[in-house]
C-alpha cells in the first residue's frame, strides 16, 4: 500500500515502504502471496488464521478491516493478536468509521495501528486523527505530501475525542 501517512512519537511522516497489501475479496487473496502482510476482510481473516492465533496464543501476521456497517464488538477477542485494524471510508462523506474508531479506541481498548482506508482525503485527516486513527492510506490520485498538511486541523476542540478525552471546560 503506498501513499500512506503514519503518526509516530516523532510526529506524522510519509511511510516510504509500507508493507501492507489491502485485500478486498477471496479472489484477491488467492492472487496475493501468502507471506505478504495483508489486510483482510474480517471474516476472511478469521478463516485464514492458524488455530493458535484464533486461540489468542500467537500473533497474527495479517491485519483485518471492517466495513462501515460491521460491528466492533465481535473483533474484541482478537485485539491482542492482530497487528493492524483498518476502517473503510467508502466515500469521504460517510462518517460511520469515525464512530467505529471512537468505540474501538475508547470502549474496546484497541491500542495498535488503526488505519483509514478508502476515500481518504486531506480535509478529513484531522477529524480522523481526533477519532483515533494512526495511519492514513491517502487516495492514490492525491499528493501525500500535500495531505500531510491536513493533519493539523484546528487547535481548539470544545468537545472531547479519542486523543483528547476531556471536554474543553475540564482543561481550562
Amino acid at each position: 500500500m503506498n501513499n500512506v501517512i503514519a503518526l509516530a512519537q516523532s510526529g506524522a511522516h510519509i511511510v516510504e515502504q509500507d508493507p501492507w497489501v489491502f485485500i478486498n475479496s477471496e479472489t484477491e487473496l488467492v492472487e496475493a502471496s501468502a507471506h505478504q502482510k495483508l489486510i483482510l476482510p474480517f471474516s476472511l481473516w478469521q478463516k485464514c488464521q492458524p488455530d493458535a492465533v484464533l486461540r489468542g496464543e500467537q500473533q497474527s501476521v495479517q491485519g483485518f478491516w471492517l466495513a462501515p456497517e460491521e460491528e466492533e464488538e465481535p473483533v474484541k477477542q482478537w485485539l491482542a493478536v492482530v497487528p493492524l485494524i483498518a476502517l473503510q471510508f467508502p466515500s469521504f462523506r460517510d462518517g460511520r468509521a469515525y464512530t467505529q474508531a471512537y468505540v474501538l479506541r475508547t470502549r474496546l481498548g484497541w491500542a495498535g495501528e488503526l488505519r483509514a482506508v478508502g476515500d481518504v482525503l486531506r480535509d478529513q485527516l484531522s477529524h480522523m486523527r481526533q477519532c483515533g486513527f494512526t495511519s492514513f492510506a491517502i487516495r492514490t490520485d492525491k499528493s501525500v505530501t500535500d495531505a500531510l498538511k491536513g493533519l493539523s486541523g484546528i487547535s481548539v476542540l470544545y468537545g472531547r475525542s479519542v486523543i483528547q478525552p476531556l471536554l474543553l471546560f475540564r482543561r481550562r
Binding site: 469515525y98 481526533q130 481548539v156 470544545y158
Partner: protein
C-alpha cells in the same frame, strides 16, 4: 450575552484561515467541486440559482447591536443591501461571490460570529425561542444550555459527516415557541419538585417530505448529562441512520423504523457507557456560561405608566400595534417587542435592509440593553423595552416601515425564499406571500380574523414549515406549471400538529381567493372569540373544503366544458 474568550476566538480565526485555504484550493483546481461541496456547506455556503448564498449562524437567535451592524455592513458591501432571516435563527445573504467569502468570514469573526455548520450533514445552529431570558412564562433560561450545545457540537470530529443534517432546538417556557417537536432533537428544560433542572428530550421530529412530530425519548434527564445524552443519540444515528437514500436519511426515519422504544434502548445502552465522569457538565462550567446571560440592570419601574396608558387611549394605531407586537416581560415595567419583517408587498418575509438593521441596532441600544433577537417566525425582537418608551419606539419603527401590527396574524407569513432564489424549489413562495398580504391589507379585517399562522414552502423540503401552519401552502410542480396545495389544522408549540391536505391544488392566481374563502368559512363557524385553529379542530376540514371547491374556479375541479 455570551462573549468570546481566547479559545472561541482562536477557533473561529483558525476556521476562517482553514476555509480561506480550501477556497484557494478550489479556485486553483486542487479540490474538485464534489470534494469542495461538503467543506463549503460546513461553512454555510450554498450554490443557489443565481449566485452563492452564505448562511450565517445566529446562535439561539441572540445578536448585539454591533453584530447587527456587522450584518448590515456585509449586506451593503457584499450583497444587494439586504439579508434574509430564517426560521432557524440564521441570516442568509443571497448574492455572494466565492472569492469574497473568506473576507466576509473575517468580518464575522471580528464581531464574534461565524457561519460554521449552518449547513451540511452535521449538527446545525442550535435554536431557542426569541424571548429566552425575558418571557413571563419562562421556567429556566435556555440560553446557557444552547451555548453549551453550540460549543460541544462545533467541529466535533466524530459527527461532521452524519447521514443527514441535524437540528436541535431548546425551550424552557410554559409555551413552546421554538417548535421543539419538529426538530431532530427537541429539548424542554424544567424544574423537578426538588428544584433540580431536568430535560425532557424529544427525538425524530421534522418536516420535509416525511413530516413527523417528535416523540419523547427521555422524560427526566438530569441537566448535567445533556451533552452525553445528545452524544449517545448522535452515535446511534451516525452508525445506523440510512445512507442509501437521501430522503430516508434523517433520524426520524430511523426512529420510525426501529420504534421509539427500541431506539430509546439503543440510546440508553450507548449512554450508560459514557454518561459518568468527564462527560458530565460541571457546576463551574454551567455557572461560567450562565454568567454571560445574567439579567441586565433593570430599573425598578411601576407596573402602571400614566403616559403609556394615555398614548394607548389616544392613538388607535399605536394601541393596535401594542396589542399584536408587545409581549409580557418577566420584569415589571418592561416589555418585549416584536419587529415585523412582514410589511406586505414592499419586502418578502424575513428580508431586512442594511439601513433597517442599522436603525434597529441603534433602537436596541437606545431603548434596551443593546440586544436584538431573531424569532422563529422570521421577525426580530427587542427583548427589554421600558413600557414608557414603547410609543417612541413605535414611531421610530414606523419611520423604517417596520411597525406593521401583524404579529401572529394572517399576514405574518412564514415563507421560504422559494423559486425566486432556491435551486431546490418547485414553485415560487414570495409572490404568493405578497399576493395574500396585499389581499388582506385591511387591518380591521385582519385583526378581526385574529391569530392564524400561514406558512408557505416552495417545495416539499418544507423550509417554510407549511405542515405546522394553521394554513399551510406547499408549492408543487405539475407538468412544468406551479400549483399550490393547501393544508389546514397544523400547529406549532405545545400542541404541535401536522395539517391535513384540503384537496386538489390551486393555481398561483387563485391563492388570495382561496385564503379569503378559508377565513370566511372560519368566521361563519366561529363562536365569539374562538381562534381559527380551535374552529378547525372542532368542525374538521370538510366545511372548508365544501366552501372552497363548490363552484370552484379551479381548473382541476371544473367539469369539462362541452362545446356546442
Amino acid at each position: 450575552m455570551y462573549s468570546y474568550d481566547d479559545y472561541d476566538y482562536a477557533l473561529v480565526r483558525e476556521r476562517v484561515e482553514q476555509f480561506r485555504d480550501q477556497v484557494a484550493r478550489r479556485l486553483n483546481g486542487e479540490l474538485t467541486e464534489e470534494e469542495f461541496l461538503p467543506l463549503r456547506l460546513q461553512n454555510g455556503l450554498y450554490m443557489q440559482k443565481h449566485a452563492y448564498m452564505l448562511r450565517v449562524a445566529i446562535p439561539y437567535g441572540v445578536l448585539s447591536g454591533n453584530q447587527l451592524r456587522t450584518l448590515a455592513h456585509i449586506a451593503r458591501t457584499y450583497d444587494k443591501g439586504y439579508g434574509h432571516f430564517t426560521t432557524r435563527q440564521n441570516i442568509q445573504f443571497n448574492w455572494i461571490q466565492l472569492e469574497q467569502t473568506p473576507g466576509i468570514l473575517d468580518c464575522l469573526a471580528a464581531a464574534q460570529m461565524h457561519a460554521i455548520q449552518t449547513s451540511g450533514n452535521c449538527v446545525r445552529n442550535v435554536t431557542t425561542e426569541a424571548f429566552a431570558g425575558v418571557a413571563a412564562d419562562e421556567i429556566i433560561d435556555p440560553r446557557p444550555f444552547a451555548e453549551l450545545l453550540r460549543q460541544w457540537s462545533t467541529i466535533n470530529p466524530e459527527f461532521l459527516f452524519l447521514p443527514r443534517k441535524f437540528k436541535i432546538a431548546i425551550s424552557s417556557a410554559e409555551q413552546d415557541r421554538a417548535a421543539i417537536k419538529v426538530h431532530d432533537i427537541g429539548l424542554h428544560v424544567y424544574r423537578a419538585t426538588n428544584g433540580e433542572m431536568l430535560l425532557r428530550v424529544y427525538v425524530g421530529g421534522g418536516l420535509g417530505r416525511t413530516p413527523i412530530i417528535g416523540l419523547a425519548i427521555k422524560e427526566d434527564l438530569p441537566w448535567r448529562h445533556l451533552l452525553s445524552y445528545v452524544e449517545a443519540i448522535l452515535r446511534v444515528y451516525n452508525r445506523h441512520g440510512r445512507r442509501d437514500n437521501k430522503y430516508k436519511a434523517r433520524i426520524k426515519i430511523l426512529v420510525k423504523a426501529l420504534g421509539i422504544a427500541a431506539f430509546a434502548e439503543e440510546v440508553q445502552r450507548e449512554w450508560q457507557a459514557i454518561n459518568a465522569g468527564p462527560a458530565e457538565i460541571t457546576d463551574q462550567e454551567y455557572q461560567r456560561i450562565a454568567a454571560a446571560f445574567v439579567a441586565p440592570a433593570y430599573e425598578f419601574l411601576p407596573a402602571q405608566n400614566f403616559d403609556y396608558n394615555t398614548q394607548l387611549f389616544k392613538h388607535a394605531e399605536f394601541s393596535r400595534w401594542v396589542a399584536r407586537s408587545v409581549i409580557a416581560h418577566k420584569v415589571t415595567g418592561y416589555a418585549a417587542v416584536i419587529i415585523s419583517t412582514k410589511p406586505g408587498i414592499s419586502a418578502p418575509p424575513g428580508d431586512v435592509t442594511a439601513e433597517q438593521m442599522e436603525v434597529i441596532a441603534l433602537l436596541a441600544e437606545q431603548f434596551g440593553f443593546g440586544e436584538v433577537r431573531v424569532a422563529h417566525e422570521q421577525n426580530l425582537v427587542l427583548p427589554d423595552v421600558r413600557k414608557a418608551d414603547l410609543f417612541a419606539l413605535w414611531q421610530a419603527l414606523d419611520l423604517i416601515g417596520m411597525a406593521t401590527p401583524n404579529a401572529g396574524l394572517l399576514t405574518d407569513i412564514i415563507a421560504c425564499p422559494g423559486g425566486d432564489y432556491c435551486s431546490l424549489a418547485n414553485a415560487k413562495s414570495i409572490p404568493i406571500a405578497q399576493a395574500i398580504q396585499q389581499r388582506f391589507e385591511d387591518l380591521d379585517y385582519l385583526h378581526d380574523a385574529g391569530d392564524v399562522s400561514l406558512n408557505i414552502s416552495g417545495c416539499m423540503n418544507a423550509c417554510g414549515h407549511h405542515h405546522i401552519g394553521n394554513i399551510g401552502i406547499l408549492g408543487v410542480d405539475k407538468n412544468g406549471s406551479e400549483f399550490y396545495q393547501v393544508t389546514l389544522g397544523g400547529a406549532q408549540g405545545n400542541d404541535s400538529r401536522l395539517g391535513k391536505v384540503i384537496g386538489p391544488a390551486f393555481s398561483a392566481a387563485e391563492m388570495p381567493d382561496v385564503i379569503e374563502k378559508i377565513i370566511t368559512t372560519y368566521k361563519d363557524y366561529r363562536e365569539v372569540d374562538e381562534p381559527f385553529i380551535d374552529v378547525v379542530q372542532r368542525i374538521g376540514i370538510d366545511p372548508f373544503k365544501e366552501n372552497l371547491y363548490q363552484n370552484s374556479a379551479s381548473p382541476q375541479q371544473q367539469p369539462m366544458e362541452v362545446l356546442p
